[in-house]
Symmetry: C2
Subunit: 219 residues, 2 copies
DNA sequence: TGTACATCAGTGAACGCGCGTTCACTGATGTAC
DNA sequence: TGTACATCAGTGAACGCGCGTTCACTGATGTAC
């Protein structure tokens, strides 16, 4: 029996069950929305009794937080991987396509991250850290771009004085600006596309996405 | 006693109660999210018993649909009013500011319209008609803009052949493109802003919004 | 290799809760003559 | 202006439901000697 590393069989089984619970949870979210998520329903679907799941998750809220964490984590991972395998080490186009692929593959995760916020909810620290991770990867790519000294709108001056969010990144105001536009514009297209606001309109959202991306890399 | 027009006092009272129910519903959505909306809770809050509300709404679903209708309707109204009171009869900047003002004033309505979709839900016809209304107003403004013959990316050619969504509007492909960009870019900023993804970043979202708007009207 | 003990997965019963919704009924408001 | 009837708002009891969660317990799996 393969007893890999320090991981005991019991622990492996534990992780396996946790993973299956999460899978079912995503299915349930896809079917009826995140608010319909129910531990009892998941348990029934897995052929076990409701209370059994409390061996694996302390509460419904913990499960949801875990799903949010995974969602952020998978996007951050996809971003980091893309940045690493890019030629110059940072490629806005590659990041954009990674973002779109991720969003289309996991619409529920996308909405858990970027969708309607739940009024009372505050993400734990490690999740906001993942969010910073994503921004950092994006900033790296923007900073590596051929400098555009041309754009000096009010926003750039403002960003010069308000760059807390960039951490210790030495990106130029223009790069900061570009990162924000990348984020908001692509999110604008993706969010409307995934929410179905383009259905019945006849055009191909992929082309709109591409056009927006063009506007970001060309300028 | 003012007995205005054909409206009977009873009918007026009816509409008054319906209005109050909706107000409480919006408050509840603001406090705990749309999924927490409960007829019983609203009734209690209004000092009546649960079943009483069934005199005013056939079901919880009907209430929600009504809220969605109102949300669309208020945005469509704001847009139409703005277009009418604009000098040239169509002013992208004015529309943009109307959109932002509306979104900031009623974040819950914004998210009911543009937020995470509920998997099973399909809006009734009159609601989708309001959505078309909004697009038409936007298209009018874009068509009235000084023509830009310069932009001929793949998207514009594609839009030439896929303009079902424009109805019988005679807007140029460039205008169609501009309308879509207006919609997606501003939505991108607003949605992230309202969802709180900018909090803690230090910069002023209004300036980012303004910068995006600039990019739309200048080009 | 075998026995004694500890750990832990899963069960079934039970709790309290709030929900949406139906129903038969009371009482107030409006309408017709 | 007054009486008889119809309309309709609101109540309280009741139904069934599924939820999250706790608890005492059984039985299987792993560990120590």
């Amino acid at each position: 029996m393969a007893k890999s590393g320090t991981t005991t069989p019991r622990e492996r089984y534990r992780q396996q069950v946790r993973a299956e619970v999460k899978e079912r949870a995503w299915e349930q979210i896809a079917t009826a929305g995140a608010s319909a998520l129910s531990l009892n329903a998941i348990a029934k679907q897995m052929g076990m009794s409701g209370p059994a799941l409390y061996r694996y998750f302390a509460s419904r809220d913990e499960l949801i937080t875990e799903l949010i964490r995974d969602a952020y984590s998978s996007l951050a991972g996809a971003f980091r991987d893309t940045a690493k395998s890019s030629k110059s080490g940072a490629d806005l186009t590659a990041l954009a396509h990674a973002l779109r692929a991720w969003a289309l593959e996991h619409p529920q995760r996308y909405f858990l991250v970027y969708g309607t916020p739940v009024p009372g909810y505050h993400a734990p620290d490690d999740v906001t850290a993942l969010a910073s991770d994503i921004m950092t990867t994006l900033l790296d790519a923007c900073a590596a771009l051929p400098g555009t000294g041309s754009s000096v709108p009010p926003l750039d001056e403002h960003l010069e004085g308000h760059r807390e969010w960039a951490g210790d990144h030495d990106a130029s105001p223009a790069a900061l600006h570009r990162a924000l536009s990348f984020w908001t514009r692509l999110h604008g297209v993706l969010s409307l596309e995934l929410a179905g606001h383009f259905t019945g309109m006849g055009f191909d959202p992929a082309l709109l996405f591409a056009a927006e991306l063009d506007g970001l890399t060309a300028n």
